[in-house]
């Protein structure tokens, strides 16, 4: 069974690599720009993606009554004495620690959006056709970055929602106790 799964895994991996190679070989320059935009913004957003992902998993485990990864949360929260904090407070501190990265990411993304919009609206266009199709390389970078922006927004919103749920449930518990 394990051998079979391993064979299947490597087969799928090979197929994915093969598909990627073929896709890159037959891609237009705009599509390659899109891929590069995705990869580049993924590098910028790596901290946010893993941070919000870990935070969402932490809050979900805490809400479900399972044992959350407290050690990682204490390392990420960036407060002087994290071991004294409750789970909800720890999640809130972790969320706050990610805030500067979120602002930096959205600032770069909005800058790119402005550049693309300027290219669409301000630059005199040689023909209607090129305006409709509008396949500039920077626009490809923008669309690749948009995937990452959606990922960051979704993970951030989910992590915020779960942390808020955790906080309100903790508050509810405290109110019920006190």
């Amino acid at each position: 069974m394990t051998v079979l799964l391993a064979i299947l895994w490597w087969l799928l991996l090979f197929l994915a690599a093969w598909g990627l190679a073929v896709g890159i070989a037959f891609a237009t320059p705009q599509e390659l720009a899109m891929l590069l935009g995705f990869a580049g913004f993924m590098l910028i957003a790596g901290r946010l993606v893993y941070g919000y992902g870990g935070l969402a998993a932490f809050a979900e485990a805490a809400l479900g009554g399972k044992e959350p990864d407290r050690a990682r949360a204490e390392a990420e929260a960036r407060v002087p004495e994290p071991e004294k904090l409750g789970l909800a407070a720890l999640a809130g501190m972790w969320l706050a620690a990610l805030e500067p990265y979120r602002y930096a990411f959205y600032a770069v993304y909005l800058l790119l959006l402005l550049v693309v919009l300027a290219g669409k609206l301000v630059v005199p266009l040689p023909s209607m056709w090129s305006w409709i199709t509008g396949t500039t390389l920077i626009e490809g970078v923008f669309w690749g970055a948009s995937i990452v922006a959606l990922l960051v927004w979704a993970l951030g919103a989910a992590a915020t929602a779960l942390s808020a749920q955790l906080a309100s449930s903790a508050v509810g518990e405290a109110a019920a106790e006190g």
Partner: protein, 188 residues
Amino acid sequence: MMKQYRSGNVQAVVIWTLVIALLLGFAIGSFSAASRARAAVADAEALAAGIAPSPVVTSARYDKANEALVLRVFNPGLVPLRLIDQSLVFKPGAASKQEAYALAAVPLGVDLAPLSVVEVKLDLKPKSEKLEVGDVLAASISYVHPYSKDFYTLTHVFSVTKEAAAGKEQKEPKQPQMNKPKQEKGGK
């Protein structure tokens, strides 16, 4: 009692993420398809620019005063052509007193730019009789294009009808035509 967070709804986040992902996927797919369409159009244009099509005679006219056959020649392609010389074959009709003659290789030297029309004047044999109804002229123009050292020939058959003899412009039909010989009439 602390105020509850309004954003503490994971289901809403999931649904909104799916909706935005759908729109984003549509936009990205459109962008990708547009870039492919653009590349295909560029390829087709490059191909069309390299193929030299034949020039087309759009209309012909007999210029009675100058004793000339005037052809309007259109270059439908994206390659410039040069019309080198002309030759005429004359087949006299019943009304003509002339004998048949061929007139070959009179230099022309007309440049025909892409997608443009020129008027080519083919001088008929000097001191010959006027064209009569029933005469047939086969006007050949040889031309060259920059992608080949060969000479190509375009032959236009001009039948002198009553209107043509009066000098009226004889337009070529715009419908597609295969230049098949006409079917024999009668039979049984």
